[in-house]
């Protein structure tokens, strides 16, 4: 930072150094360190098939910063404010330029600035209050209580003056301990004016803190911007930029393929809201419900779940409001059983039947869930194993190359595993989709497609695990190729069918969905 020395303000300085345009491009100096490099994608290559091209760009951290600066510059050509003020304003509007323009020109300007917690740079009134602590060129910092030369104190545009050390301490605490970036306000009590980048970057000298601050600002830029999303892979620092928001797969430079809408692994055919519901259900239920299904029954009266931990079949519900007596075997009322419950012959008695019906219904719901959950988990598990398969396939490929086959001739194996993984992933999510689907003619077609794909996928998987020898290699190659092509086409058919259903609104669900 070359402006460090300029910072220590002269005695008659107005107190809002940060705004007095010492460099219009302050933000550039502040936030960019290196020239951007990177790549852009036009999607549609080996990734999905059914969508038209969905253009997007993968950005590096530097490019994100550059993109942010470009956005600010663009807006600045119109509104003509210091860049750091523009950034706060843009952030306030979640980086929606149009909204900013609208409010800036049509609305109440004063209100706009106060909502965004900044002082309008064209207003100068607030700067007058400052001198009140002043005596003999010394001023008191109310944070550290020291009397210091006036030049040691500074303020934001709101005019609350504190000494430089205190500012640095204050900002460092906020940034490093509380992880605050663009929401740091003035240190004075009750003052909500936001600290601008320029002030932070000038005051803070420690590189670690600076870096964290830049990171926080970039992060909030990406999080707020609806056309941007971070790659969900933990160690990846790329973000994707799209031109419009859509349910689409993004392939990051790190190899992760994720859904633009929700940031999860790409989960076609099921959409984000259903997947979210499913995940929640799985988190809440799976283990617990397995256990419940195996070990408990519900009270026939109040439906509370009961575990039988003793031998006696005379049950008394522990629910204080219920306390009903019933027979564990038939779930009917206990009274008629008397002392001879073991000849319990009341299985078909109306009451017991009603109790059973009700219970069966809830059991059936659970069974249904477990059915889908098991298959979902199963494919997920298999998918994990396929990583091992990649390793063993690689060995096989090397082996085959030693047996008079060229490199290009053995590539089909890798391709086959790729297809296998894709199919497994798709299948996995089809069970989530199917779980929420109401039975209609379309859902039957869907299930047929699912069955076809599943059986083909299993066959392919089987072929790949077979031993490949010199003798059967030609035969196997033929079969594997046929099978993976078949799998690919079945998968495409299934996805197309689901997409068609979305387009024509054919799917009916067992749960109510919020319209997106």
């Amino acid at each position: 930072m070359d402006s460090d020395d300029d910072f220590v303000a002269s005695e008659d300085d107005s107190g809002n150094e940060s705004n007095t345009g010492e460099d219009e491009d302050g933000l550039n100096v502040a936030l960019i360190d290196s020239e951007p490099t990177g790549s852009s994608h036009v999607d549609g290559n080996d990734r999905m098939e059914i969508e038209e091209e969905f253009p997007y760009e993968i950005l590096t951290t530097e490019q994100i910063v550059q993109h942010m600066i470009d956005c600010i510059k663009e807006v600045n050509t119109v509104v003509q404010l210091p860049p750091t003020i523009t950034r706060i304003l843009l952030n306030h509007f979640k980086w929606d330029k149009e909204k900013l323009y609208e409010r800036y020109y049509d609305g109440d300007r004063k209100m706009l600035f106060s909502e965004a917690h900044i002082i309008d740079p064209s207003e100068t009134t607030s700067q007058k209050e400052i001198k009140k602590y002043l005596h003999n060129g010394m001023e008191n910092c109310v944070i550290c209580c020291r009397d210091l030369p006036t030049s040691m104190l500074t303020s934001l545009a709101c005019g609350h003056r504190f000494c430089r050390d205190c500012w640095v301490n204050y900002l460092t605490t906020k940034i490093m301990e509380e992880g605050m970036g663009n929401k740091i306000s003035c240190a004075a009590h009750g003052c909500d004016i936001l600290v601008d980048d320029q002030t932070v970057m000038t005051l803070i000298t420690e590189p670690k803190v600076k870096l964290k601050y830049q990171h926080l600002i970039t992060n909030s830029f990406v999080e707020c911007n609806r056309l941007l999303r971070w790659c969900p892979k933990p160690e990846c620092s790329h973000a994707v930029k799209v031109q419009y928001v859509d349910f689409q797969p993004i392939k990051c430079d790190c190899g992760t393929v994720f859904c633009f809408l929700c940031g999860e692994n790409w989960h076609q055919p099921v959409k984000c809201d259903l997947l979210k519901k499913w995940r929640k259900k799985c988190d809440d239920d799976s283990e617990t419900s397995n256990w419940i299904a195996a070990n408990t029954k519900e009270c026939p009266r109040c439906n509370v779940t009961i575990e039988k931990d003793g031998g006696c079949n005379h049950m008394v519900c522990k629910n204080q409001n219920c306390k009903t007596d019933f027979c564990w075997v038939c779930l009917g009322p206990w009274e008629p059983h008397g002392s001879s419950w073991y000849s319990c012959n009341r299985y078909d008695e109306d009451e017991a039947k009603a109790a059973r019906d009700a219970q069966e219904k809830s059991r059936a719901a659970l069974q249904r869930y477990l059915f889908y959950c098991n298959r979902y988990m199963n494919h997920m598990q298999s998918l994990k194993f396929e990583n091992k398969l990649y390793a063993s396939i690689k060995e096989k490929m090397e082996e085959m190359q030693q047996h008079n086959m060229s490199w290009i001739e053995v590539q089909f194996l890798k391709k086959a595993v790729d297809v296998l993984c894709q199919c497994r992933q798709t299948l996995m999510y089809t069970y989530v989709f199917a779980y929420y689907l109401l039975k209609t003619n379309q859902s039957i077609i869907f299930e047929d497609n699912q069955r076809d794909l599943e059986s083909a996928t299993e066959k392919l998987s089987e072929y790949l695990e077979r031993d490949i020898t010199q003798d059967n290699i030609v035969d196997i190659k033929q079969r594997v190729q046929d099978k993976y092509r078949y799998c690919e086409s079945r998968r495409r058919v299934l996805l197309q069918h689901v997409q068609e259903g979305y387009d024509k609104d054919l799917w009916e669900y067992t749960v109510k969905l919020d319209k997106v």
């Binding site: 550290c144 209580c145 205190c166 004075a188």
Partner: protein, 203 residues
Amino acid sequence: MANIATQRIQREFSEVTKSDESQKNLISIELVNNSLSDLRGYISGPPDTPYEGGIFHLDIKIPETYPFNPPKVRFLTKIWHPNISSVTGAICLDILKDQWAAAMTIRTVLLSLQALLSGAEPDDPQDAVVAKQYKDSYEMFKLTAKHWTSVYAMTGFDKWRYPDFDYKIQRLMEIMKVDEDRARVALSSNNWDLEKATQSLLS
């Protein structure tokens, strides 16, 4: 302790001592073990509240990063208040959390706490039981709070007594073989219904 914190606390000490409120014995602070990071604060219960006449002791811990982080404050004197835990004395007050500003002082904290005693915020409770009572049966809350004040925050002979409460506490102590404080909490939490209080101690 960091230099700046030490300097601040020394200044604040004299600020409190010289303040009007201190002259009128409304607030005061003193050191514990001669360490500037460990203070004891005192506030008097504001007039026209159930806390009137009581002196409430506060434990004030000054963090290393003071004044950029708020001091940690809790009530040492037991108190019946929606925003203060009747068990631990923990306080739910915005300026002691995210609304803390570096320019605030121990004095402003003490005054804010006094203000909290005058105006509770039952919708943002620390102690859910107290808050419920505050909202559902305010008269009962007032009596209970006053009773707690007289028992825990007052010394001397002018204590306010409510014989009915004292009687019930004695009864509960006999029935359940619990100490006085536990009996008082159980009864206070159950609107001084002896039977319910007994039940709550059983479960």
